[in-house]
Symmetry: C2
Subunit: 314 residues, 2 copies
């Protein structure tokens, strides 16, 4: 009998999942819209994979954004999944499936995936940063994942980049997330579209009466649209302010950028690197590689499955 | 024969040193003004302690602000000790004294001291932050000191707190250090003194034609002077912005504030805590104690001596 693992990643707009073998090979994968009852949906996904895998599944890993208490397993705070707050996903899924379940922050899961099988393989210290519906980080220092004393570490999206900026869902003002997350990039593009009277490719790509999505912005930028590129350039600068702080504080060997918005690739990565260079110590910047995720949207599900595997061994 | 250790801390305005036994007891200590030739001065201090200790000294630890390359032992960058840059203090002192020498960042040394014998004893994750001529941090996570992949970690003073702020010695603009270090607190108090036409205790304490020192500011604040207290209140807010970021990112159990400017105690600590509370996640803030150093100006020399001891064992 092969041992198989299920990795699941909850993102603001999708539920990604995969069936993974013990060597990190993805055997099957799926992507669903999040349903009203997320717990029931997760249990359904797990059951479907188990049926497919003839009961060879031995553990499940689930990654989601938010603060997950290491001591209690509870989700203390998850702005994008408010109804899961204070729920112990771990207990509920275990009760329904009788499978061991590991729940962790989504960025930690993706960091783990990239570290084991992606671009971060072999590095001793690295930060994985996800730019998606939210912004978070997974931190690996000295060959160990640092989750914080209670499991709350990695809230890179809640670095203050504008002291008197917009209010954030976390209660602070001017967090990186208030300008650089997917929905806030969309908001900023929309504000410019209304202001900007010059012709713009984004007007053709995104009709004014239609609801704009992060995918629209990504598509427009990749098609060469000037307006969205200007917004993304500024977004990269904001991220670079926060990354400069982080590199000065932690001096990591590697920073990996993933998450939905990084589908624009260099369009966002280049201004991030440029601003980080301006804002960090030259020797610390010189020692740090800043790259795009190699596993892309599979980093999270793969990391989640492998963390389930390695938690069983531990 | 007892084994004894020398700990030395270079600060912008003083050279502190101590002779310490293997149990962390300080046997003798001294404080000197930094001389023109610091390397010669350090060698002289070591020789004096050795004469006093009848050659029982077995190792020396030296802490100083700046980026010290873990791989080469070289000081890559030390804005307050420019002439030491690219010098290997370790080699020079070893050559002159034939004693094993450990050189590390001053905040790391103080963190180590507080962790072994001070208020941080028994904690698993803590950040020691020094507010002096410069601002730096020593980071201990999961029971391990994190120095960064090249030894450059802990540059908390170079967190951007004002994107378009003053130019910093590091090349960035708006670093915490440009407003909250000792010399910059003095600068801000002086600017207010010239502007402010109302009577102020600080005018009496600090004559206008005289050069103001950080000690003058500390004395005025402790005497109840309103003007310096207002400046320190704002200073605490700046530090709290950067500390909010750090707590969101690292979720430590404990943050210890030391360094010369913390002689004002609660006058600075209270606004730091207040701003940090506003800017960090409630659960992360709730899990973190923020306190004053208990070893005060002995944290650095004690930590330096004990790091010399423990490096010999390793």
């Amino acid at each position: 009998m092969h041992k198989l693992y299920i990795g699941i990643e909850l993102e603001g707009s999708s539920v990604s999942s995969a069936l993974v073998d013990a060597e990190g090979k993805i055997i099957a994968e799926r992507r669903d819209q999040p349903s009203e009852d997320l717990v029931a949906q997760l249990i359904e996904i797990i059951k479907a994979f188990r049926a497919q895998a003839e009961n060879q599944v031995v553990a499940v890993g689930i990654g989601l954004p938010g603060l997950i208490n290491l001591k209690t397993g509870r989700i203390e705070l998850s702005p994008n999944f408010q109804h899961l707050t204070m729920v112990s996903l771990q207990d509920e899924v275990l009760r329904a499936t009788r499978l061991p379940v590991v729940v962790d922050n989504d960025a930690n899961m993706a960091a783990y995936g990239e570290w084991l099988y992606g671009i971060a393989k072999g590095f001793n210290s690295l930060i994985y940063i996800t730019i998606g519906t939210g912004i978070g980080a997974g931190i690996i220092l000295g060959g160990q994942m640092w989750r914080g004393s209670s499991g709350f570490a990695g809230e890179f999206g809640h670095t203050t980049v504008d002291v008197d900026g917009n209010e954030c869902t976390c209660g602070n003002t001017g967090c990186l997330e208030t300008v650089a997350s997917g929905p806030n990039i969309v908001r900023r593009v929309q504000q410019r579209l209304y202001r900007d009277r010059t012709s713009s490719l984004s007007r053709l790509l995104i009709p004014r009466d239609q609801k704009m999505s992060p995918e629209d912005v990504i598509r427009a930028a990749l098609s060469g649209d000037e307006l969205t590129r200007v917004v993304l350039e500024r977004t990269g600068s904001y991220i670079g302010i926060a990354l400069g702080n982080l590199i000065n504080l932690l001096n990591p060997e590697l920073v990996v950028f993933g998450g939905k918005m990084m589908a624009v690739g260099e369009i966002l990565l280049r201004p991030i690197i440029e601003e980080t260079r301006l804002r960090s110590f030259a020797p610390s910047f010189a020692e740090c590689r800043i790259v795009l995720s190699s596993l892309k949207d599979r980093a999270g599900v793969l990391g989640a499955a492998m963390l389930a595997r390695d938690s069983l061994l531990a």
